[in-house]
Symmetry: C2
Amino acid sequence: MPERVLIYEDNDALRKSLEELLMLSDEFVVVSTARDCLSVEEDIRQLNPDVILMDIDMPGMTGIEAVKKIRVFNKKIFVIMLTVFEDNGHVFDAICAGASGYLLKKNVSEKLIPAIREVLTGGAPMSPVIAKMVISSMQKSSGKQYNFTVRENDILKLLCKGMSYKMIANETGLAFETIRSYIKNIYEKLQVHSATEAVSKAINEKLV
Amino acid sequence: MPERVLIYEDNDALRKSLEELLMLSDEFVVVSTARDCLSVEEDIRQLNPDVILMDIDMPGMTGIEAVKKIRVFNKKIFVIMLTVFEDNGHVFDAICAGASGYLLKKNVSEKLIPAIREVLTGGAPMSPVIAKMVISSMQKSSGKQYNFTVRENDILKLLCKGMSYKMIANETGLAFETIRSYIKNIYEKLQVHSATEAVSKAINEKLV
DNA sequence: ACGATAATACCCCAATCAGGGGGGTATTTA
DNA sequence: TAAATACCCCCCTGATTGGGGTATTATCGT
């Protein structure tokens, strides 16, 4: 049984060629195409696609907004984003919104069918540059911008687990007042004035 | 000029074949091989490799520990991890430690040289399954496990930015006591008892 | 159209916790 | 030997937490 593909792409020529490309293979059937994704929810309920090809820039609603909307009611449909640029912000937004893969338009002719096959078998197709961006975003920020001492780092780690001063004192075996003075130093180095700020900054900047 | 490759792999047969595979191509020169990575820091300073192939499981020091050690003094060398399993924990640990790519041993013969080329041109080679794991880990946890109301979500978001009750009250235009009662509800739903715990949980579970 | 339920917005009291300001000593390292 | 690190203590104010409430709108199912 062929996989059901739904296409959203506002460029008429590209939309046509995507459709034709897929029609050449009997693995796939294009259940519908559209130049905007305003009716995406309705479309999905009616057409029950397995895979959606979604342009990022479209009039009315962007592809990223559409993915968010889809994920509210459906976690299983695979959505492959199509884009011209390997643009940092858009890529991350789309991935966080729940995209399954990321295809550059310039590579569409060779990569489209392999990419669809890849998502269907549990993969996440993306260009090498995007893969690198994703990996980089997960890596610890080289660590030493704030010049924490070993102890300060330990205590920040415990603070980030949500522990109170008392609990940290118990956990480390240090005196309560010692913890307090370490935390004062940590705040000074992080340039913050509360535990929540410190935790927020530490986690978001991957300091721990 | 050929790229300088350094190999750490405790299995003698595999280490030999990796070396031989690379020697077949004049793109690469294997500057050294070792069955453990205890002297990795010294090796790097002496041999100045461009790329390191690093087994994950080795006696003495694991490949992951070795990557961490490398990243303390060198951020540029590419490290490709070699592993038998697409094991969740190890993969993430290695990526967070600073690995540049992830190669499954069963695919080494076809994928090794393309993978090295890929890291050298700014990519991040990894198997489809690993790519999928990485992507999944970045995506928002579907949202509604804790059944926050719109307001509760707003306020949790502000709390996660490190704001105090007062600041949140100013920001939202609501009364201080209103913020307090929302935060009580948030704590109840999250099953926590302090702002730091809430922020920690919210950020780590990508609720905001 | 009806009550039930949920969401929103607000208030008080009491006890504990955290944050900013001081102060200090001992040990290790450069 | 000066600097850095690790450790400890006091005071005071203001913030946070946990326990009670009340009132007004929406929203939903029958």
